[in-house]
C-alpha cells in the first residue's frame, strides 16, 4: 500500500473513532489504534524510501484546492505522533474511565481524535490557508482536552491562559501566512529559498511557532496547562503538540530564506530555555508541573541543534551543521518518547495516590514496581545518560558544537558557551531527576495515600512499556534510526546529502550495548555475592536517633535547595516561615513556592497596566448626552482648526 492509501485509512479511522467515541469505546479504541498504525506505516514508508508523497485533488476548501504532501520532515514528526497517539489512546481507556468521569470521558475521546487528526493534518497540508484552519482546530481541541476537569478553578485558569497564549501565537501565524500569500500571490507552500525578500517573515514564524513550542520566555502557558490536563493528554501535549511549533520552525526555516541573525537568535533562545527550564523545574514540588518545565528545557536542547544548523547553513559548513541538526531532530523523537513515558508514569502515580504533591509521596516502589522501574528508565533517558536515547541526541548536538569549535570564527565563539551550558543543563537535569525518583519512589511513604497506593493495570502499563522499549532501542542501536534522520534533514537542506551514518555512532551503539550488558551483569554478581555472604535487615542508620519517622526524610524542596538558591535571581521563590524561637518552641512551619516568574512579574503587571489605562479611558463613556455633544463640538473645532492651519493642502 502506498502512503496515500495508508493516510486515507488513518484519516478514516480517526473519523470513525470520533463518531464512535460516545457510544462504543471499544470501536473507538480499535479505530484509533488502527489509524495510528496506518499513519506510522505511511511515515515509515516515506522515511525508508526517502521519496515524497504528494496528494492533490480538485476538491476545494475555502476556494483553495486540497494539496497534501508527506515528505521526510513531515513523516519524521508523523511517526512520533502516531506512536504517542496510539500509546495514549490505550492508556486513556484505563486512566480516564467512564465510571469515574461519566461526562468528560466520552467527549474527551472525541476531542482526542480531533486533536490527533488535526495535528496529523498540520504535518501534511501544503497550503497556507488550510494550515491555518487545521492549526486552529488543533489548538482549540487541545483546549477542550486540557479543561476536562473544568469544575476545578485552577484547571479553568490554566485553560484560559493556554487559549490566550495560543491565540497570540496564532495571530502571528495569521500575519505570517498572509504576508507570505501577499508576496507570492497564492497560498501554496513549498520551497522558495531563492526569494530573499521573504527572509524577515521568519521573525513572525519564530514568535508564532515559538509560543506553541514553549521556548523561554514564551512558555508562560505551558506549565499550568500540562500539569492540569489528564496525564495522557499531558503526554501528547508535551510529546507531540509542542513539537508542532518545532515542526513549523524547521519547516519554514527550510522552505523560506532566513535572516542572517536567525541561527544566532534560535540558538540563544535554545540555551536560555534549556538552562532556565531546568532551573524552574528544580523549584517545583508538583510532579507534573516539574515535568512540564522539563519540556521547556528539552525544547531548548532541540533549538540549540537547530540554531547551530542554521548558522552552519548560512556559512556553508555542511559537516557540523548536519550533526547539530541530526542531534536536534533525534531529540524531537527522544523527548517525545521519554517525556510521554514520564507523564504516563506520573499519571499512574496520580491515579494510585490522588496527589501530585511530591512531599506527600515516597516509597512507591513497594506498591508500584512497574511504574517505578519504567519512570526511572525515563529519568535516566531524560538526564541524557548513557546507554539510553537521551544521551545519543545530546551527544550528536555536542559533536556538532565541538566541530564548530575547530572551524573557529564567530560561530565557534557561540559554540563555547552553548557547549558549557548544555553540559550544565545535563547536570541540572540529573539533579532534578535524582530528586524526583528519590522522593517519589524511594525511601518510606510520607503519607497514608502513598502507603495505600496500588499498581496500575495492564492497559496503562503496556503503553509505558512500549515507550520505554523505544527509548532503549534508540539508545542501543542508534544506527538503525540514522536513515530516518537523514531523510528528514535532506528535506530541510537538500544540499546536505551525507547519507552514511557517522562512524562513531556505530561504535557508540556497540558501547551502549556493552554498558547495558555489563551493568546488568555487575548488578547480578553483586547481588549474588551479598546473598552468599548473608543479608541482615535493620533500620536505616540515623545517627543513633531513636524514633525516626518517614516525615523526617529529605524532601524535594530541601534536595533542590542548593541549586534553587543559585537561581534565586530569576526563580523568585516565595517563602513563608515561622521559625521557632521561644524557649519551648511550639509551632513551626516552612513553605516555599516557586511561581511562574515571567507570568507573575512581567505579563501580569503589563496586563494590569493595560486594564488601568483602559479603565481610565472608559470614563469618557458615561451616557450623558450633554458631554457627548461637547465631544462632538470639540472634535469639530479641532477639525476646523486643522483645516485652517493646513491651508487646504
Amino acid at each position: 500500500m502506498t502512503p496515500g492509501w495508508l493516510l486515507l485509512v488513518a484519516g478514516l479511522g480517526m473519523l470513525i473513532g470520533m463518531v464512535s467515541a460516545f457510544r462504543a469505546k471499544r470501536v473507538w479504541l480499535a479505530a484509533t489504534i488502527t489509524s495510528a498504525v496506518a499513519a506510522l506505516a505511511a511515515a515509515a514508508w516515506v522515511l525508508k524510501a526517502g521519496a515524497t508523497w504528494v496528494g492533490r485533488t480538485t476538491l476545494a476548501i475555502g476556494g483553495e484546492p486540497i494539496h497534501l504532501q508527506l515528505d521526510g520532515l513531515s513523516a519524521f514528526f508523523l511517526a512520533l505522533l502516531a506512536l504517542l497517539g496510539g500509546a495514549g489512546s490505550l492508556y486513556a481507556m484505563a486512566y480516564w474511565t467512564d465510571q469515574q468521569h461519566p461526562v468528560s470521558a466520552t467527549s474527551g475521546r472525541a476531542w482526542w481524535n480531533v486533536l490527533l487528526l488535526n495535528m496529523g493534518l498540520v504535518l501534511i497540508v501544503a497550503n497556507g490557508l488550510h494550515f491555518l484552519i487545521v492549526w486552529e482546530l488543533f489548538t482549540v481541541s487541545a483546549y477542550f482536552l486540557i479543561t476536562r476537569e473544568r469544575h476545578r478553578r485552577e484547571v479553568r485558569a490554566a485553560g484560559w491562559l493556554y487559549l490566550a497564549a495560543s491565540h497570540a501565537g496564532t495571530l502571528c501565524l495569521f500575519a505570517f501566512f498572509a504576508c507570505l500569500a501577499a508576496h507570492t500571490g497564492n497560498w501554496e507552500l513549498g520551497s522558495m529559498r531563492e526569494r530573499m525578500e521573504l527572509a524577515p517573515l521568519f521573525w513572525l514564524a519564530l514568535a508564532g511557532f515559538g509560543l506553541k513550542a514553549g521556548l523561554f520566555p514564551l512558555h508562560i502557558w505551558l506549565p499550568s496547562a500540562h500539569a492540569n490536563a489528564p496525564s495522557h493528554v499531558s503526554a501528547i501535549l508535551s510529546g507531540v503538540a509542542i513539537k508542532m511549533g518545532i515542526y513549523g520552525l524547521v519547516r519554514f526555516s527550510g522552505w523560506l530564506p532566513v535572516p542572517d541573525l536567525a541561527g544566532w537568535v534560535v540558538a540563544g533562545l535554545g540555551v536560555l530555555s534549556a538552562v532556565l527550564g531546568v532551573a524552574f523545574a528544580l523549584g517545583q514540588h508538583d510532579l507534573k508541573r516539574l515535568l512540564a518545565y522539563h519540556s521547556v528545557e528539552n525544547i531548548g536542547i532541540i533549538l540549540i541543534g537547530l540554531g547551530f544548523a542554521m548558522m552552519a547553513a548560512a556559512n556553508g559548513h555542511a559537516a557540523w551543521g548536519q550533526l547539530a541538526l541530526a542531534g536536534g531532530l533525534l531529540h524531537v523523537w527522544n523527548h517525545g518518547l521519554f517525556k510521554a513515558l514520564l507523564f504516563l508514569g506520573a499519571g499512574s502515580v496520580l491515579h494510585a495516590t490522588g496527589t501530585r504533591e511530591m512531599s506527600r509521596l515516597g516509597g512507591l516502589w513497594r506498591s508500584m514496581p512497574w511504574t517505578a522501574g519504567l519512570f526511572t528508565l525515563g529519568a535516566v533517558a531524560i538526564s541524557g545518560l548513557p546507554p539510553l536515547n537521551g544521551f545519543v541526541s545530546e551527544w550528536l548536538v555536542f559533536l556538532g558544537l565541538f566541530d564548530a569549535l575547530s572551524a573557529r570564527g564567530a560561530t565557534a565563539g557561540a559554540a563555547i558557551p552553548a557547549a558549557v551550558l548544555l553540559g550544565v543543563t545535563g547536570a541540572l537535569a540529573l539533579a532534578c531527576f535524582v530528586k524526583v525518583c528519590g522522593v517519589v519512589f524511594l525511601g518510606l511513604p510520607r503519607s497514608k495515600v502513598a502507603e495505600q497506593a496500588h499498581e496500575c493495570g495492564w492497559p496503562m502499563r503496556i503503553p509505558m512499556i512500549v515507550l520505554g522499549t523505544a527509548c532503549v532501542a534508540i539508545g542501543l542501536a542508534p544506527v538503525l534510526f540514522w536513515p530516518a534522520i537523514v531523510t528528514a534533514s535532506a528535506a530541510w537542506q537538500p544540499f546536505w546529502s551525507e547519507t552514511a551514518a557517522p562512524a562513531p555512532l556505530l561504535t557508540l551503539g556497540a558501547f551502549h550495548l556493552v554498558v547495558a550488558a555489563l551493568a546488568a551483569l555487575a548488578a547480578f554478581a553483586l547481588w549474588r555475592r551479598a546473598r552468599h555472604n548473608g543479608i541482615r535487615r535493620t533500620g536505616t542508620w540515623d545517627c543513633g536517633y531513636a524514633a525516626p519517622t518517614p516525615r523526617m526524610q529529605y524532601t524535594a524542596g530541601s534536595f533542590a535547595g542548593i541549586i534553587t538558591g543559585w537561581f534565586r535571581w530569576i526563580l523568585r521563590p516565595e517563602r513563608h516561615a515561622r521559625i521557632p524561637n521561644e524557649p519551648f518552641p511550639a509551632h513551626a512551619k516552612f513553605e516555599e513556592h516557586t511561581p511562574e516568574t515571567v507570568l507573575e512579574h512581567v505579563i501580569e503587571p503589563a496586563g494590569s497596566l493595560v486594564m488601568r489605562v483602559s479603565t481610565a479611558v472608559r470614563r469618557l463613556q458615561h451616557g450623558r448626552l450633554q458631554a457627548y455633544i461637547l465631544y462632538l463640538l470639540i472634535g469639530l473645532a479641532a477639525l476646523a482648526l486643522v483645516a485652517l492651519m493646513g491651508g487646504g493642502k
Binding site: 575547530s406 558549557v420 518510606l444
Partner: protein, 302 residues
C-alpha cells in the same frame, strides 16, 4: 583476540592499581602529621575483608540499592576504558568519546545518589543533594577543559586530545583540573574523607548504609575515579602521547604519584571550606579552565 586480551590486561591494571592512590595520600598525610600511618596497601586489605563480610541492609531499601551501587561501579570501570595511557592510547577511541567519558561519570553519580536516597535517611539525602548540586559546577569546568583541549588539537577523542602538551594554558588548565579532581573525589577542601560528622559530609554520608561487598564496590569505585582524574590531569598537561613507551610509563607513574602527594599535602595543610564557599572555589576552577580555553583559542590564531 589480541585486542580483547589487550583490553582485559589494561582493565586489570586499572582495577589493581586504583586502590594504591588513596594509600599513598594517607601515607603522605601521616608523614606530614608525624605519624607512621596505615600501610600503603591498607585499602587492598579493607576491600578483601569487605568482600567476605555479610551485608546489613536497611529495611527501607529497594532491590535497586545494590543494583545502583553495581551500575555506578561498572560505569566508572567502563569510563576507564576510554582514558588513554600515554603513547599506547585508549583501548577504545572514537570521535566523541570524551563526552561519553563525562557522561559515564554522570551515570555513576546518578546511581550513587539514588542508592543513597533509597535508604530514606535525611543525612544521605543531604549528601546526595550536595553531590549532585556541586557536580553541576564541576561538570561546567570539565566541559570547559575539554573545550580547551579540543580547541588546541581539533579533536573530540581523548586519545588525540591528551596526546600533546597543553601548550600555553597548561598551568591554568592544570590548576582548574586539580580543583575539579579535589571536588569530584570529595577531598579537602571540598569534603573531608576522614570526617565522622554526618552533617558535614558529601560523599561519605551517601554510603552510610552500605556494607560488605557493596561498600567494597563503592570504595573501589571511588579510588578508581581518583586514579582516572589524576591520569586525566597528568596527560592534559604532559605530552604523554608523544614520548617513547618507557619514558611515558615512567612519566605517567611519577606524575600520578606527584598528584597523589599533592592531594595529601593539600589535605594536611588546608582546612575544609564552609559549604557556602564551595561554589566559589568551583567557579574559580571553571574560570581557570575557561581562561585556558581562551588561551588555546588565541594560540591557534597567533
Amino acid at each position: 583476540m589480541t585486542t580483547a586480551f589487550d583490553i582485559l590486561l589494561r582493565l586489570l591494571l586499572w582495577l589493581l592499581l586504583a586502590p594504591l592512590v588513596p594509600g599513598i595520600i594517607n601515607k603522605v598525610k601521616a608523614w606530614v602529621a608525624g605519624r607512621r600511618g596505615p600501610p600503603v596497601l591498607q585499602l587492598y586489605y579493607d576491600l578483601a575483608k569487605l568482600w567476605r563480610k555479610g551485608v546489613v541492609l536497611s529495611t527501607a531499601v529497594s532491590p535497586g540499592h545494590i543494583a545502583g551501587t553495581a551500575v555506578a561501579w561498572m560505569a566508572l570501570v567502563l569510563a576507564a576504558l576510554l582514558l588513554p595511557a600515554g603513547p599506547a592510547g585508549a583501548p577504545l577511541a572514537f570521535r566523541g568519546d570524551a563526552l561519553l567519558f563525562v557522561y559515564l561519570l554522570a551515570l555513576a553519580r546518578f546511581c550513587t545518589a539514588l542508592a543513597a536516597l533509597d535508604t530514606g535517611s535525611a543525612f544521605e539525602g543531604m549528601g546526595a543533594a550536595r553531590e549532585v548540586s556541586y557536580a553541576v559546577l564541576g561538570e561546567a569546568a570539565i566541559i570547559t577543559a575539554l573545550i580547551a583541549l579540543s580547541l588546541q588539537t581539533g579533536s573530540v577523542s581523548l586519545t588525540t586530545m591528551l596526546a600533546p602538551a597543553a601548550g600555553a594554558g597548561a598551568a591554568l588548565l592544570a590548576a582548574g583540573l586539580f580543583a575539579v579532581l579535589l571536588a569530584e573525589n570529595c577531598r579537602v577542601p571540598f569534603d573531608d574523607p576522614n570526617t565522622h560528622l554526618e552533617l558535614t559530609m558529601i560523599h561519605e554520608v551517601m554510603v552510610l548504609d552500605h556494607s560488605g561487598p557493596p561498600l567494597a564496590a563503592v570504595l573501589h569505585g571511588a579510588s578508581l575515579k581518583l586514579l582516572m582524574f589524576s591520569v586525566l590531569l597528568v596527560q592534559a598537561v604532559l605530552p604523554a602521547g608523544e614520548l617513547s613507551p618507557l619514558t611515558a610509563a615512567c612519566a605517567l607513574a611519577g606524575s600520578v604519584l606527584a598528584v597523589a602527594v599533592g592531594v595529601g599535602l593539600v589535605e594536611s595543610l588546608l582546612a575544609r571550606l564552609a559549604f557556602r564557599r564551595v561554589p566559589l572555589l568551583l567557579t574559580t576552577a571553571f574560570l581557570l579552565c575557561l581562561f585556558a580555553a581562551l588561551v588555546s583559542w588565541r594560540g591557534g590564531h597567533l
